[in-house]
């Protein structure tokens, strides 16, 4: 049913507004947010592939009676194929990614409900609003619509940071907003250049116009718009020079919030990246730019992660560094590499959620995130230690977990595209990731326990453990049967190139 497509955006928004109304009633908020979160993943499974035209504004081509009543310079020209209203397209990529995004969102909401005695309604509001915004970005076929929902997602992200109890949250939120208020309008200016050149903000129309030579794809205006939109993309995903602020953002939020923030970033990365890839695929050097910034992101974030002593910040840097892999896949631009990049994005969402929630348990128990003051926690709860270790294996790419499959695909695509150096770098970075993770794991769990370490809450919330088990189960399933999702992704990529 195509009518279900807009519901994926509408349901979370309405639920968020309702939660804001019932902000005084704790039980109502718990029940309502739980119900909404459990209903959300069902919607993308039930709905069919297809397009949804808002307000019924189909292109003129599809509307015979209206087309015949128009003068011939409209009905015969390219104008008749233009999309008049906002269009949502729902294909295999959207189906898989939105399903897993909602699953991660559900697990984060579930963790929050379990960890806190009193569930804050405004926090739930922000989480649902962020979910709705990135879903709209993924569904939308309209680059300005993406910009609007991206700004909404930024405000929701800032709210999620502010909802934590960290001492530095206001400073980081302010920095993120200041940088965002420069990155956002620059993205808007790039969209403006594109709009002035083409006259439409619909991506399919822009691609049609560029492919058919109606617009000179080498004109300085087109290239300039590429530069500005690319800069906005760098800001929105946290590649350099924004990797420091992005990792700071991850490290200042509540752990379940950080898990959601990383999921939001990945989806923003993929949706805007696909838009850029589709529009500017004729520009010859687009891959060079994307590969350069992705490599910088991987190297800089990884080296910063090794040097870090705060495990929240370390996981934040690792998460940002992993985003570089998706960028490399986009930069290579072959069918295999794009499929691998999308798969890697999906894996990253799940794996980083595991790690954030797993180390969040440590933070919950000891109230400190400095690894020099921690140690010996494996005696307290060996189960969680094993789950976190599995998450680290998945992130580093140890078989048979899902990270291995996507990284193997990426390495293969780099080799087959005559870039063996990229393959070498990917493997190197993967090794260093593993080393960094083991350093954190060793000093939190294996090192002898320092004498002055006080364990304040020794009872770990069951919900967190359950959530981690579910996430690791997803990791293993995707690692053993990767064709569950890669078939859908490669089908989508086949239509893209």
């Amino acid at each position: 049913m195509n009518d279900l497509i807009p519901l994926m955006v509408i349901v979370p928004i309405i639920a968020a507004i309702l939660l804001n109304l019932f902000i005084k009633y704790n039980t109502t908020i718990k029940i309502l947010s739980f119900l909404v979160a459990i209903v959300l993943p069902i919607i993308p499974i039930l709905s069919n592939y297809g397009l949804h035209y808002f307000g019924g504004h189909a292109p003129l081509m599809d509307n015979g009676t209206l087309l015949n009543s128009l003068p011939s310079y409209i009905s015969d020209g390219p104008l008749s194929t233009f999309h008049i209203g906002i269009t949502y397209s729902f294909e295999s990529l959207q189906k898989i990614l939105i399903f897993f995004l909602f699953v991660v969102g559900f697990l984060c909401i579930f963790t929050t409900i379990g960890e806190r005695k009193r569930t804050p309604g405004s926090y739930m509001f922000l989480m649902l609003m962020g979910l709705a915004a990135v879903t709209a970005m993924l569904l939308s076929d309209d680059i300005f619509h993406m910009y609007i929902f991206f700004e909404i997602a930024v405000v929701a992200q800032v709210g999620i940071i502010l909802a934590s109890t960290d001492n530095q949250r206001y400073e980081i939120a302010m920095k993120y907003m200041i940088l965002g208020s420069i990155g956002g309008p620059i993205l808007l200016t790039g969209i403006g250049f594109l709009l002035g050149l083409v006259g439409s903000v619909n991506i399919t129309d822009i691609v049609y116009v560029v492919r058919n030579g109606l617009v000179n794809a080498n004109s300085p205006v087109f290239l300039f718009s590429f530069g500005l939109i690319f800069f906005g993309w760098l800001y929105s995903v946290g590649l350099p020079p924004f990797h420091t602020i992005k990792s700071a953002v991850y490290s200042k939020a509540v752990p379940s919030g950080s898990a959601l923030l990383q999921a939001l970033s990945v989806v923003i990365f993929i949706s805007l990246g696909i838009a850029i890839f589709r529009i500017y695929s004729s520009v010859p050097f687009i891959g060079v730019f994307i590969i350069f910034f992705s490599l910088c992101g991987m190297i800089l974030s990884l080296t910063m992660a090794i040097m870090e002593n705060d495990f929240k910040r370390m996981i934040g840097f690792l998460a940002v560094g992993e985003l570089g892999y998706i960028g490399l896949g986009f930069g290579l631009g072959t069918k295999l590499s794009l499929t691998a990049a999308l798969f890697q994005g999906l894996n990253e969402m799940i794996i980083t959620a595991t790690l954030f929630i797993g180390f969040g348990v440590v933070l919950y128990m000891t109230k400190t995130s400095d690894i020099t003051k921690l140690g010996g926690l494996i005696e307290k709860n060996p189960k969680i230690a094993i789950i976190v270790l599995l998450g680290g294996f998945a992130m580093a790419g140890v078989p048979p977990l899902n990270g291995f499959q996507s990284k193997l695909m990426l390495v293969q695509s780099a080799l087959s595209d005559n870039f063996p150096e990229l393959a070498v770098i990917m493997i190197l970075i993967s090794i260093v990731t593993f080393m960094t993770f083991i350093k954190a794991f060793h000093s939190v769990y294996l090192k002898p326990k320092p004498k002055n370490l006080v364990i304040e809450n020794s009872d770990v919330p069951r919900s967190s453990v359950l959530v981690m088990v579910v996430l690791i189960a997803i990791c293993i399933v995707l690692g053993v049967v990767p064709t569950l999702v890669t078939d859908g992704f490669s089908g989508f990529v086949g239509g893209l190139i």
Partner: protein, 122 residues
């Protein structure tokens, strides 16, 4: 005399540059935020200036106009619709930033960006 559209584009560009200058070089955080609002307004004005048509009419279809005449004389209404949304988004972002600035002032007792947004906690 340069025509109106070019002048509007130039002034929107100067708004963006003034705003960038303020955001980078001015230390006071309220003035930084004012500069950011100028960047936002410059981007909006750029979109509106793109839609302008010399000797055109407002894109409202009035009785007595033929569709052909309207199509060849009116300004392009799509950017207007986009800018309406963008203005509101800009104002709400500004409000959030000002609210955070108030909290930061209460915490640090200063409005200087190098004091409150520096690197001293590392």
């Amino acid at each position: 005399m340069i025509d109106t559209q070019l002048a509007a584009l130039l002034s929107s560009g100067s708004f963006i540059i003034i705003g960038l200058y303020a955001a980078v070089f001015i230390d006071n955080i309220i003035k930084k935020i004012i500069g950011l609002s100028f960047i936002e307004e410059g981007a909006n004005m750029f979109l509106i200036a793109l839609a302008y048509r010399t000797d055109g009419v407002v894109p409202i279809f009035l009785p007595g106009m033929t569709p052909e005449w309207f199509a060849s004389n009116s300004a392009y209404p799509l950017p207007h619709a986009l800018v309406l949304t963008s203005i509101v988004i800009g104002a709400s972002t500004l409000a959030v930033m000002l609210a955070i600035a108030m909290v930061l002032y209460r915490k640090h007792g200063s409005l200087s960006a190098s004091v409150i947004l520096g690197d001293k906690h590392e």
